[in-house]
Amino acid sequence: MITDCHVHIGKAAWCHIDADMDLLIRTADEVGVDRMMVTDFTALTYDYEEGNESLRRQIAPHPDRVLGYFTITTGRFGDHMVELLDRYVTEYGFRGLKIYSVPPLQIIDDPYMIPLLAKAAELRIPILAHSTAEECESLARQVPDAMIINAHMGCCPQANGDWRRSIAAAKRFPNIYLDTASSCFDNGMIEFAIEEAGVEKILYGSDTPLLDPALQIAKITESDISREEKELILHGNIDRLLKWRET
């Protein structure tokens, strides 16, 4: 059983991708992924209203296979965003919030972001934050009830590939989790994350269709960790976080 907490759909000129649901489902079948948590590229980089509406339509036929993240470029489009997040979760069944830090103009450690994070905490949904460890720590301090997943666990250009810094954040803050999706396969990274932050803080993600999900799965399965730890990372931990909303 595998649940992938980090998947994209749609068009993204910056990374030369145009991925539809058929591609995602076919790829998930090939590599053995049972459930995907998906964010729309248009919502992430251009127009959150258009992108989330597109995602809503595309995931509707696949309720057991594909879960939606309500996705935004920034928190600066007004109170309407909070209302829309509420509607997408309570009426349309979206299961998370995705936020994306691309400094200097697209930042997440921003006063305008806080009402959205507070709403996500109220709705009991996880927040996938493409960001640095420092930004996640700041948000975790400001909204202690928010469940923040540090996307790429520091292995992205703006976080300088510093996975040890992200692991330190997850160790220090009870509400910071780590997503394993990234181009980095540094030897011992997953083992160290378990030793420092605890296996329950680590969630499997792939960044499909930018990265190769078969290699991302092997990052977990080929680590020197126990079978139980692999299962927790590959699905147990995110399944537990998703159940938070049902409690």
Binding site: F185, D186, N187, L215
Partner: protein, 251 residues
């Protein structure tokens, strides 16, 4: 059989390295079917090229069927002129260049031209890692400079190492399109269907397997080739046949 062009030995200054002893690497190589690794000293990158190269020669002497040397030299350190002796003693070997770590501009150093001329004469591949390993925090070199060198030294086989995707891959492809004496090594390639894309763009005969053992998990290097939707003949080329031809290796 799998030949790995991109292995390292020594300490890693940024975090404690796991499974980095020669014995631990051999165990991992056996687990993932890697027959031979071209080993480069991390000491030679970060502090002392000559002592690092000597360390590698000693490991190769102990395990001649499992390791081959990847030497490195700086224009500014003692022992740089030993490259002729090192390579003649070693047989199959490659030379790696680390201009960012050794702080020089390749085009300004006559020593680099001298050694690249030697590589061309002896058909010794010159491997220039875009970064030491695929981690976003490490300094990167200029891929187009490799293209300039490949033009000046057409007899020298150049290998671009540890490129990942997008701009760095596009620059690598541009250089490979212009210069037939440029090859690419796979340890940094993590994108979706990237191996298939590269085979379509440049042909399997110009792609060589690397894992970046023990800096990166060595399971991933072979897996990305085995999983690629390419012919078995192309997989064999990438995993070992191209290296056998380039280094005149029988095993």
């Amino acid at each position: 059989m799998i030949i790995d062009l991109n292995g390292y030995y020594g300490k890693w200054p940024y975090w404690p390295l796991r499974q980095s002893s020669v014995e631990a690497m051999l165990e991992k190589m056996d687990r993932y079917g890697i027959s031979r690794v071209f080993l480069c000293s991390l000491r030679s990158i970060f502090t002392d090229p000559q002592t690092g190269n000597t360390e590698i020669k000693e490991i190769v002497k102990r395990y001649p069927h499992r390791f081959s040397p990847a030497f490195t030299y700086s224009p500014f350190t003692p022992g740089r002129k030993r490259y002729v002796e090192d390579c003649e003693e070693a047989g199959a070997c490659l030379i790696k260049f680390f201009p960012r770590q050794h702080t020089y501009v390749s085009f300004e150093e006559p020593f680099i031209e001298e050694i690249l001329g030697f590589c061309g004469e002896k058909k010794i591949p010159a491997l220039i890692p875009y970064r030491i390993m695929m981690n976003w925090g490490l300094p990167m070199c200029n891929i187009q400079n490799i293209g300039r060198f490949a033009k000046s030294f057409p007899e020298t086989p150049f290998i671009v190492g540890s490129v990942n995707y997008l701009l760095e891959l596009q620059s690598t492809l541009d250089v490979m399109r212009r210069r037939k004496n440029v090859f690419v090594e796979t340890s940094g390639m993590m994108a979706f269907r990237e191996i298939e894309y590269m085979v379509r763009k440049v042909g399997a005969e110009r792609i060589l397997h690397g894992s970046a053992i023990p800096l990166q998990n060595p399971a991933i290097g072979p897996l990305k080739i085995h999983n690629a939707k390419i012919s078995d003949a192309d997989k064999e080329r990438i995993l070992f046949r191209n290296a056998q031809e380039l280094f005149n290796l029988s095993s």
